[in-house]
């Protein structure tokens, strides 16, 4: 008796389930004609879900001198072991938003837009990243999304943004640009409209590091390569095999990949040193890798330069590898603030005013976040529109040096047409920081990262 009733219930469930799917499908057919539009044309006014429109920005723009809200979403890892980096990026975004709002907001046409920044946690998990993006876009009405900081998650967020006509602003560093071919590359490309990049990629930075190496360590010819275990690290290693000989350098030894959970860096560095290199390159680094590799290398009696192409304050590496010398990489040394551009000094004052230490080891992360949002807001203001498509289109036209300002110095513009197929990469100055033979932390050199 009971068995039968349950079987009936199951059948009922199946029928109802299939019926509902059918209903949805029919409903969808009617809707596709209207919702398909945003992906081909400009107007991102309707969310994928249905008839609701996104929040304030896209509604009425006729009334003069109105103050409105521009919702910008950020996705970063705010919990878990990497949380420090995510929190730093969030702080940078907050500072940049506060700067614009304190100055009276963005003036677009007759209206004034106040930036409303909402940052959600991706918990370093793809489903959480996807959840965060959907929440920001659908619930909060964000029309621009920054982040996430993990490269792989950008491929998860991007389709959600594209579906909803939201612009994805890639504000943090990229491990490998589109020039490095590998499956799952997350860089901007012609078939990824509404995706713009506001920072350089590791392979775009590396030539400048090698320049610095050759200027200052002319005897260092043989370079051993290591990095975090990722597909892009392997691709970068292959790329270095052709790039380095062209400069008169040599790639020696096999690629040493460090799993994210590696506790002891001595065994991999022993392997790295068995090829007798003159210098070590950390091609892709977590916050710890550079410091740990340096520490292990010095403990193992290696005295050559150790460089890192992921942006990082050298203080951080030295916190782990106490007293190491001849270490340099992309990044900003906050200990050497005096020579930095005024905009960065100003940003750092605001940072310290919020109660953070002046020589914070992860200061460079907040600076990158700050810079990214600042440039995005500049682009929005220059485009005189809050419509993501219009901003994206206008961003692509800012190709004259000096069109955009950055924290790192002047002369920034948008490029990348030749290497990525689309003009959506920010070309900007940046810094190499490190410690020379004298043991003093310095911003060693300003370079201009030019992406053709």
């Amino acid at each position: 008796m009971k068995k039968r009733s349950l079987a009936i219930l199951l059948a009922l469930m199946l029928v109802l389930g299939l019926g509902s799917v059918w209903m949805v499908a029919c409903g969808e057919d009617e809707e596709t004609t209207t919702t398909a539009a945003p992906t081909t044309t400009a107007g991102p006014t309707t969310t994928g879900g249905g008839p609701q429109t996104t929040a304030a920005p896209t509604t009425a723009t006729t009334a003069a001198g109105e103050t409105k809200e521009l919702v910008i979403g950020g996705i970063a890892f705010l919990t878990g072991p990497g949380a420090a980096g995510g929190m730093a990026a969030k702080t940078g975004w907050e500072l940049a938003a506060a700067k614009i709002n304190d100055a009276g907001g963005l003036k677009i046409g007759n209206d004034t837009y106040m930036v409303k920044l909402l940052v959600e946690d991706d918990a370093m998990s793809v489903d959480q990243a996807s959840t965060a993006a959907q929440k920001l876009i659908q619930q909060d009405g964000a029309t621009f999304i920054m982040g996430p900081l993990v490269d792989a998650f950008k491929n998860v967020i991007y389709p959600i943004c594209a579906q909803n006509g939201v612009m994805l602003a890639d504000v943090d560093t990229k491990n490998a640009s589109a020039a490095i071919k590998y499956e799952g590359n997350t860089d901007v490309s012609p078939d990824r409209p509404l995706h713009a990049r506001f920072h350089w990629a590791n392979d775009e930075m590396m030539p400048y590091l090698f320049d610095y190496l050759q200027e200052n360590y002319p005897d260092a010819k043989k370079i051993a390569v290591c990095g975090v275990t990722e597909a892009c690290t392997v691709a970068l290693y292959d790329w270095l095999g052709t790039t380095l000989p062209a400069r008169g350098l040599e790639r020696v030894g096999a690629l040493e990949q460090m799993a994210p959970d590696t506790a002891d860096y001595v065994p991999p560095v022993t392997r790295l040193l068995s090829a007798k290199p003159d210098a070590i390159l950390v091609a892709v680094s977590t916050p710890q890798t550079w410091g740990q590799v340096t520490k292990a290398a010095r403990d193992l009696g290696f005295n050559g330069p150790v460089m890192c192409s992921t942006h990082m304050g050298v203080e951080f590496a030295l916190m782990i590898a106490e007293g190491a010398k001849d270490v340099f990489g992309a990044g900003i040394a906050m200990a050497d603030l005096a020579g930095l551009p005024p905009a960065m000094q100003e940003a750092h004052e605001a940072y310290v005013a919020k109660g953070y230490p002046a020589q914070d080891e992860i200061a460079d992360v907040y600076l990158v976040g700050y810079n990214g949002l600042w440039v995005l807001l500049q682009a929005i203001e220059k485009a005189q529109s809050v419509d993501p498509q219009e901003v994206y289109d206008f961003y692509q036209t800012l190709t004259n040096p000096g069109d955009l300002q950055t924290l790192w110095g002047d002369g920034a513009y948008v490029g990348g047409l030749q290497s990525t197929g689309v003009n959506a990469v920010l070309c900007e100055p940046y810094w190499i920081n490190g410690v020379g033979a004298d043991g003093v932390q310095k911003n060693l050199k300003q370079v201009f990262i030019d992406v053709p």
Binding site: E28, G80, A123, Q134, K135, V156, P159, E183
Partner: protein, 346 residues
Amino acid sequence: MTERAQRITKTSAFVVILLLVLALPWILRGTVKAAPYWTHVFVLIGVFTLMTSSMRAIFRTGEVSLGTAGFMLVGGYAAAILSIRLGLSPWLTMLLGGLLSAAIGGLLAYPFFRVKGVYFSITTLLLGFVFLYLAGWMDWLTGGWQGLQFFNITPELTIGSLNVAFTTKTNIEYYYLVVVVVGICLFVLYRMERSRVGLVWKSISEADHLAQSVGVNVMGHKIFVFTVACFFTGLAGGLYAFHVHALSPTSTPANVFHFFTSVYCLMYMVVGGVNSFYGPLVGTTLFMLLREWGRSVSEYWPLVMGSILILIVFFMPKGLVGLPGYSRIWYEKLRGFLRRRALSSE
């Protein structure tokens, strides 16, 4: 209440809940602003309910498996890789993912069940880590720590001229897919638990030597339930994969394939009520919704979870499902206490 009346109440409650589950996307569309987002959350709830219920099925024989996340990873990756590399239909690969997970579970079950209790938990815990690291290590197959992304692969269903794509656009189609699949799986688990096999499991959990001495094939039953649970967990992994369209094994504790997911499933199970079939449903739904509502305080979330778990173990060992009973006891206690106070003050 007579037995008949009780059964009628139960059945009608069941039907109401069922209707609610089926009507949910439409209710959401009418009531909340971001319906697709909430539908997405409920899809994840469905996936995790299946995992938690599978874990509970293993627990019916008295063992706690902490390898849930690992088997989910196997199912999800297998489904994704088969679809990406061989171009097989997601329907087939989801099933194959579950079957692969079950095959691995079935093969390992015999050696694993030679140990009991904490040894078994440790073995499964370490196995979960092995799967996680292997997924990161075998980058030629799994994309390494970078993971896999496959947005172009979506399950589709064609009935006559009608074509339904289970996309992430509104998530509604996928929600119904999850409801149907998870519903069938839960129904199977429910039937097993209520059948003779379920009683045998119970006997194994309570006194395995005794069960063996009266002729129960303890090992056979354990292997069977473990294999079935692994199948469902793998299936949940496949459902997860084609909903999120990306898999990555980042080794941070919050990652879905990390040990923490197994721990969270354990929590959903215990908090919901480990002795009731509905415990995992209640626990998972409540906790994942709470987590979503509490996004602004996500930093404190593990703290809250840990505290609730400890409180439940100490004060409500039957879980939230036992709340009606507990509230009656607490009410009686409070009344007794007040009465005594009143008496002593007179």
